[in-house]
Symmetry: C2
Subunit: 291 residues, 2 copies
């Protein structure tokens, strides 16, 4: 039997995977006669949104939910007053806020309690940041969002700054802001809330590629992060192949093979990964692999 | 009468001025038959060290102090066990440690108590850093000195880092280290202990030069920080002059003048500033200035 190792951080990040799983599970509520909605598209992948629609889970906007229907909060999160309003309107609220985003909500409140003025490094209009600002207001903290260097001016008026980041913030800009602030304020406490999904995905490849006979990287041929995964993998294991779907798998890659590794870029849904895994098992059952 | 404004941050920084003043005051102990020593040259200015010698205050090393003599701790500070040893040996210890350096000693202990692993951005062999490490050990804290990027490796093993800086650290390197650390550790608390002597000296010029008729900048003609003060001053007030000593003052600069500003670069002792001030008053008494 061939052994297949799927990288733990393959494809969507942890928070998105979890949100999709919650959406899938919520689809059973339709059996109770409820309708199930997501507050905006649950991920930026149209096929995946279509697949969920086929299970009865659709974004709010296409239809207006009624009292008693279920509403799923996306991985980005929402402000707490919005969540309360949904409950008061009689919706069943399913919270798929990413735990890493919840950690940002907790961090701004913890820092506020410690007396810090809050700086959130992020995009002012990003749903995640809007949610975090809501939590900051809720715990009576004060703070600003910094999306360009000039935004720091307001922060310089405060002696003690507590800093967090939008989870998907660029590391380069984060470093610049932290360095500048540390220089000008009396005390700076940073809780780094950047999610390291991209780097852990790469770390998986560094770990798995050298220990398998063949490494399969799934993702769009024009996806930068997938191509980088393939480049890293090829440097560690020459039998590394980049495919978009299971149709591209070639039986001859697996001749005499005992161990296969699989990973996927950030835009690849789990079911595409599953299809690739099943196809490899199928090829191996046809005796191409080593037994 | 001419009004003369001496910039509050002219010449030596606050800590050095204070140490020199303490050394001067300690010279009275020689009247009690004690000898007075400084632990190393009190400032990096030979004329000033010579002047203090003439008052009976000389660096240890030229002579060995005996029990009962006074020993002055320089503005850099020393480790607390060294200070205790001096007292146990029977010396009268006069502590001229700069209050900004004392603030670093307090900061490392405060951060240690809060459970942080300490990073001191500074030079490993600098007397100030050696003193700070002594205080860190005294309060049972753990930490390292970072003088180049590679030194950070040890810090990355810790989740919560408390960071301080040698008071005379370069702002550029400090920013780089803070940015890098914030990215890789879970929590970073920075207490910025860089002394802003250079920047406050410049701020004085921005404030004083526009409100006086003549601005005098004292300092070595080859001193970069003095030349910068002169450049800033000239941009705000064309009647700005750079002199090394009072001998270079020209009476015609002060014709009809009511208000004169004075500042000095970092290597200029107070007594040279005083000489310049007296000379201006003298010129004005000879009726060159406005009355």
């Amino acid at each position: 039997m061939v052994e297949i190792i799927v990288a733990p951080n393959a494809g969507f990040c942890f928070g998105v995977k979890r949100a999709v799983k919650l959406a899938e599970e919520s689809s059973r509520l339709t059996e109770e006669g409820k309708k199930v909605y997501t507050l905006g598209p649950i991920i930026h992948n149209p096929q995946e949104v279509e697949r969920l629609k086929s299970l009865g889970v659709r974004p709010v906007g296409e239809e207006k939910p009624s009292r008693g229907d279920a509403v799923i909060i996306r991985s980005h999160g929402i402000p707490p007053d919005k969540e309360r309003a949904l409950k008061e309107e009689g919706f069943e609220v399913i919270d798929a806020t990413c735990p890493y985003v919840k950690a940002v909500h907790e961090a701004v409140c913890q820092l506020s309690k410690e007396g810090y003025f809050i700086v959130i490094v992020g995009e002012k209009n990003h749903p995640e940041v809007i949610g975090t600002l809501g939590y900051l207001k809720e715990c009576e903290g004060k703070g600003i969002v910094v999306e360009k260097m000039e935004d720091l001016e307001e922060a310089f008026k405060h002696e003690r700054i507590g800093l967090v980041s939008q989870t998907t913030q660029s590391e380069k800009f984060f470093k610049e802001i932290v360095g500048e602030l540390a220089l000008w304020v009396k005390e700076l406490k940073v809780i780094n809330t950047i999610c390291n999904a991209t780097s852990v995905r790469q770390e998986d490849v560094y770990r798995i590629a050298p220990q398998v006979d063949v490494m399969i990287i799934i993702g769009g041929k024009n996806s930068g992060n997938t191509r980088r995964l393939h480049t890293i993998s090829k440097s560690l294991n020459p039998n590394s192949y980049h495919v978009e779907t299971s149709d591209e798998l070639k039986p001859e890659w697996f001749k005499g093979v005992r161990k296969v590794g699989i990973t996927a870029g950030a835009s690849t849904p789990d079911w595409i990964i599953e299809q690739v895994k099943s196809k490899i098992e199928e090829i191996c059952e046809e005796h191409y692999c080593s037994c």
